[in-house]
Symmetry: C2
Subunit: 368 residues, 2 copies
Amino acid sequence: MSKNILSTPREDGFRMPGEFEKHEGCWMIWPERTDNWRLGAKPAQAAFIEVAKVISKYEPVTMCVSDKQYNVARELLPSDIRVIEVSSDDAWMRDVGPTFVINDTGDLRAVDWRFNAWGGLLDGLYFPWDKDDKIARKVANVENLDYYKLESFILEGGSIHVDGEGTCIVTEACLLDESRNPDLSKEEIETYLKDYLNVSKIIWLKNGIYLDETNEHVDNIIHYCAPGVVALAWTDDETDPQYDYSKAAYEILSNEMDSKGRCIEVVKLHIPDHVIVTKEEADGVDSVDGTLPRMEGDRQAASYANFYIANGAIILPIFGDEKHDKLAAEILQTVFPDRVIETIYAREIILGGGNIHCITQQQPDRRE
Amino acid sequence: MSKNILSTPREDGFRMPGEFEKHEGCWMIWPERTDNWRLGAKPAQAAFIEVAKVISKYEPVTMCVSDKQYNVARELLPSDIRVIEVSSDDAWMRDVGPTFVINDTGDLRAVDWRFNAWGGLLDGLYFPWDKDDKIARKVANVENLDYYKLESFILEGGSIHVDGEGTCIVTEACLLDESRNPDLSKEEIETYLKDYLNVSKIIWLKNGIYLDETNEHVDNIIHYCAPGVVALAWTDDETDPQYDYSKAAYEILSNEMDSKGRCIEVVKLHIPDHVIVTKEEADGVDSVDGTLPRMEGDRQAASYANFYIANGAIILPIFGDEKHDKLAAEILQTVFPDRVIETIYAREIILGGGNIHCITQQQPDRRE
């Protein structure tokens, strides 16, 4: 009931919808690896549970978990959250999960990109990553969806943002990095995006968030809020390396048209005060050769743009920076007047290298 | 979306339907363990593939497979068979899977019995069995079904047969064996069956098939074909220990009334010539301490009663015994005049200790 389709979504009339369009549900993965999450991943699990619980107020949530942790997750999560066995190498459903595409007659399919742990042998974050690379296909099978399996093209879901109407935003820092698809030109990469997301316009930002270990994923620096509206991580501190990154992105976005010829409204979300890894936090992580270490004093790539849009709500990470936490929530409430702003203290998630958008993947509603 | 319900199916108006009622689909598990299946389980996998393919002509099939073998199974199975990750200790979905129950308004739920590998530390067939014991719960979660999880009562799906109208047939050899529920009386065991299958009459056979390593599961000696009609494994050879077993079962069935007060028509299916493990077959199995060995000269518990009823078809194991293979197919065609009799050469399955009924579990149709 899950066929690998050899054509492309573009040929078949399927497109990736905007995250702000209606969802059937949300997919997540249970964090387990003790060489990325401190204290046996227990604090991270508590944070993921909170995210899952809040999202499940607005749409169904499925948590993927290994056999080993299955009973733990099933007991800790409320019964209205579905818990299924799917092995993983870590917990970043945005990047390893399928990109769902829909057509106008209510069909849903999945795109199964290749995954190499954000850089493979060159600068990947762990080894091996074979379990992660199977997840999209497994999710498609669980849902009885046909899927487009790419044989070699490497892409993470967090490295793209679409408006659902033909526009895709990416960063050069990530998509042109030699650790992804070194044999492809920028034009060839554009062709893959156009064919598999069914978009006609790619907007290339230069950078993402400073020190972002994903080679600066676009989903940590911006968020497509609606066609023609983008939230952008910002800083007023001109001495921060992030200033140049965000300023350049602002200029590109302000001067580009989207696929429909619209100007893009850019909404600034000032980043929080720096999130610095403490000694206690670093000491709680198993040090393992081959996995990116978590060191005392490391600055984490914290950004409010890394939120999740659920049906009727925004799930916004906050960092204990009262001023900027409050400001981000207020700004997003004006951008999304009809959605509840749900804030979640996300320090345990950013300590692992990402945030709420990175650990979620929406499944669009096929009935709309 | 999968709640553990603390009441019983009987209290809630749910019943286990007969296997001959309409199905939504069929569940199976991919065979992998090399200490039960010869030659790295490859011949068994080929046989399971054939079973899955034939059943999928009549109803949707889901194959459960470990992460390690996921890509192997996904590539070898046709795309109309759903392949999902579910870890197991072996491949007997009848015994480890959920018992599905339905009500009159179209709801479907699962019963999650405890499983101890056919006898736990006393005479279980392998150790450990913790993955098997989680499968019913995982299947319920995949399907978004609420489930009744029994805390301690041990039962395998192959040790019961129901008519869907209030009658259940079991064997004393299995259900009263001290390796299952030694602290429960026969009456207390009856109460569990009545509460969780929603039946009012239990018919107790003494034995099953001679040398059946499951402590003589009822599903290897009989099959409920319709309310009031039971197929019974038989032999005319009075020197075979099976003769006394089958004769006693025949007498009990012929003299009992079912829950509706009907007499039971018993249809005899003569067993095949003995299936004896060859040296080559025994040598292909990894010998592992703690797992039941497969020895040259062992007589396997081969029986035609171990078939599967699919929508519109009977999936019948055959053994290369031309006379009895043909006879079984002919008799079942008269019992099931509206179903196609599909025969599958099942030597590789019986070598592992069971047959087609043991490796399948029907999910009843909730819409009827």
